[in-house]
Point group: C2
């Protein structure tokens, strides 16, 4: 599949590399088509990926990953252009982390809104699916590095888009029974607002490679 | 131990009953000392608990539980009075759920602040410990109804107060290795902001008796 990856940070590079490993065609997009991180990544040994600006990468993809920093995602997707996003599955893995308030960061979009919703509102014809934002990028693309039946959340308005995203999550190694479908894109408030807890668990757990598993009382 | 339980809702009654079962002396406090729920609960067969207004219950307790609805907790603790709270361990299990915005509720205190912090700021001489707010009250007082090594979070500025609270959590059945100490009271933002995810998991999990367990990659 042709996949556009917007964002050249650790998340974009990790997802891009995994998609290539899985046999997909990848174009990585950045604000500036001459982005050095993107060129360095794409020139790695045996890396067949191409690079471009946000519009190039989004236009290339049949599916588009938003791996930009959450506080800049709406601008990045504006730059990508509605023509390059409309009708496509747009997978939003970002968090609106705002470090301007100190450490740990707060959320820039929160509580009565979510980044996933804001992206969907800005691009009503894109098929936005929020997922993977609750784990570090190494865990996103290789959940087996964390033992146990830990979970990933999926939210979006378009059931066919969610099914397609679940297929990609399966390629990453997520078993279907560990993909928790929370409903429409407004439900993204849940997994996005989990981030402040995630940020506070890194220290006590002494790792960023962790995740949560769900435990329930038996029925009745 | 003499324990004041502020709040006559499901959470206060469940925690109060458990404390009695454990042999503690309990006084339940409400805005109005003639609260019918409190009287009905305290007149249950074999229930030695007493009731009163917020100030009566806080004054009675060597330790005080805040089980009031989060949006009213600061007012309730003002009514309890600084003289009845200063120097005491004040265990805050509440969430600032705000249903005025529709369902599911949003949080009334969030992101750059938390209910735990606001209570500590209003009562600087109380030894506030935030805990248990991430699970339903049945799970709070009987974690074994949910199988597996699911966790509870503890935050507060006073280490001795946290140690005392961990002792009570142990009496409720929480093993010490499953009590995650997140640090000072400002860390309450993490477990409080988990609530929107909790609210969205009830449906898919088809129960309110659930919790999260932590899974980590092995070191290195």
């Amino acid at each position: 599949m042709r996949i556009g990856v917007l964002g050249t940070g650790m998340v974009g590079r990790t997802i891009g590399s995994k998609l290539i490993e899985l046999g997909h065609q990848v174009r990585m997009g950045s604000r500036d088509a001459d982005n050095e991180d993107a060129h360095a990544w794409a020139s790695g040994a045996g890396n067949p990926a191409t690079t471009g600006d946000f519009a190039d990468a989004a236009g290339f993809g049949e599916v588009v990953f938003n791996c930009t920093a959450g506080m800049h995602s709406v601008d990045a997707l504006d730059a990508a252009g509605a023509d390059n996003l409309d009708g496509k599955v747009l997978i939003d893995v970002a968090n609106s982390l705002d470090s301007s308030t100190g450490r740990p960061p707060t959320l820039g979009i929160v509580n009565t809104e979510s980044l996933g919703e804001r992206i969907q509102a800005a691009h009503p014809e894109a098929r936005v699916v929020k997922t993977l934002n609750t784990v570090n990028c190494e865990v996103m693309v290789d959940p087996a590095i964390v033992p146990g039946d830990h979970v990933v959340f999926v939210c979006g308005n378009d059931d066919a888009a969610k099914a397609e995203v679940k297929g990609l999550l399966g390629e990453f190694g997520w078993p279907e029974e560990r993909m928790i479908d929370l409903g429409d894109i407004s439900q993204a408030r849940g997994p996005e607002m989990y981030l402040p807890l995630w940020l506070r668990l890194m220290g006590p757990l002494d790792t960023i490679r962790f995740n949560i598993a769900l435990r329930m009382a038996p029925p009745g």
